[in-house]
Symmetry: C2
Subunit: 252 residues, 2 copies
């Protein structure tokens, strides 16, 4: 009997070339598919809720696959964790209806982006947090976040060349952010939280890079709003580094 | 003119053979001494506030050294950080009186020891936190901590063969803990905090290993008290793994 299984996956993306399978590169999808194929004795295609770029981490990535294998869930999870490197862990495995698909059934996602301030970054956070040594105006940054926290055309924050714009229909680059916050976590430690119904390629990292420009006074809040309205990637700030980003949760 | 300089040092101990210089091994003391010798153009001996074992981390290690060099402090710090690997950072540099010594002037230290519970550990905390998969009785653990939080002979928690016991005088294995606490930091994430006027070799890791035995019901709180009273290392629990331990602060 065919089964449809959802995996909850956490990974340290430091030494991977991202989620998606590709030739001659270590990817998380490839590692898990290889282990699944060994465990179930059949070729398995794993559908992730989305792709994460090289160096990006996950606490709550989800993926689904179909299998004829009768292996109990706890044994599947245990088997995968015994084969996978410690930088990838299967946190949970769940039996789903056959029409569930990790990507197409997803309603929303939450991403975290962490950074440290102060003159020198602690080596204990260097793998999961970006270092910003210049002073930041946090109130201005929160104002930018308040502005984008609703439905917008986020074209200014979409990686160039990442989508075939000639395809008719679809929602284009319009997305809805229901949460865009900046919170302090420690003396010199901060975190952005973004929840949205979908994210364009590099969208979080491009928003973070552009909001940080306002934080350090390179642009004003009014200019930030103008950048969003222009729907032009070339107006926005640089893409923030990958290692500050964590896919925190996928909602169904 | 001779100067006496104190460094505040943070490091990720994952890939080091501990603090103290030794032949054919990467140590934190060696890395910093080599960089200091290059910067000041003279052999430098660096005195750490204490030693940390292989794999142990630090957020607030201190060390002092004397030099004839006239290099300004900010330039010394910047120069060191440009030469050192990113896993070691000089967080601060300070001019001290000539009679200051990082080890002999230290009045107290605080250590943190972190662990995660739950069936599977997140890969994002695996480098700095130990995974305990069995259920723990946290109230019993706190009772153990309350008991040791004062002046005791901590011989039961001292690494065997770590001290020449024939040396007359000195305080032997008597130490005073002014703080011994267990706090929850996240859903499955906990931290011990120990502050004391001095720590014997492996003392924190041996206390943690023995308290965890009580947490999982291998020993009772009464038996834990008995273990302390016996002053016999062979009665206590196993030494907890190095990577959960962080030297948090040294007090002067």
């Amino acid at each position: 009997m065919m089964r449809n299984i959802k995996l909850l996956i956490a990974y340290d993306g430091t030494s991977f070339s991202g989620w998606q399978k590709q030739k001659n590169a270590d990817t998380i999808q490839q590692e898990i598919e290889t282990a699944l194929t060994r465990i179930t004795n059949a070729a398995v295609t794993l559908h992730g809720a989305g792709r994460t770029d090289a160096g990006v981490h996950a606490r709550g990535m989800t993926a689904s696959f179909q299998t004829q294998s009768a292996i109990p869930l706890f044994q599947l999870q245990k088997g995968l964790n015994s084969m996978l490197p410690f930088s990838i862990r299967i946190m949970d495995a769940e039996e789903m209806e056959m029409n569930f698909h990790a990507r197409f059934s997803a309603r929303a996602k939450t991403y975290h982006y962490s950074f440290d301030t102060g003159p020198v970054q602690s080596p204990l956070s260097r793998l999961y947090s970006v270092h910003i040594s210049h002073p930041l105006n946090l109130a201005n940054m929160q104002e930018c976040l308040d502005f984008i926290c609703c439905t917008h055309d986020f074209a200014s924050f979409e990686a160039t060349g990442s989508r075939d714009r000639t395809i008719p229909g679809g929602r284009g680059s319009i997305r809805t952010l229901s949460r865009a916050e900046l919170t302090q976590r420690g003396e010199n430690s901060y975190r952005f939280t973004f929840t949205g119904d979908g994210f364009l390629r590099h969208m979080v990292r491009n928003i973070v890079g552009t909001v940080l420009d306002t934080g350090r006074g390179k642009t004003t809040v009014a200019e930030f709003r103008e950048i969003v309205r222009k729907k032009d990637r070339s107006c926005a700030g640089a893409t923030a580094p990958a290692h500050g980003l964590v896919l925190h949760k996928v909602y169904y």
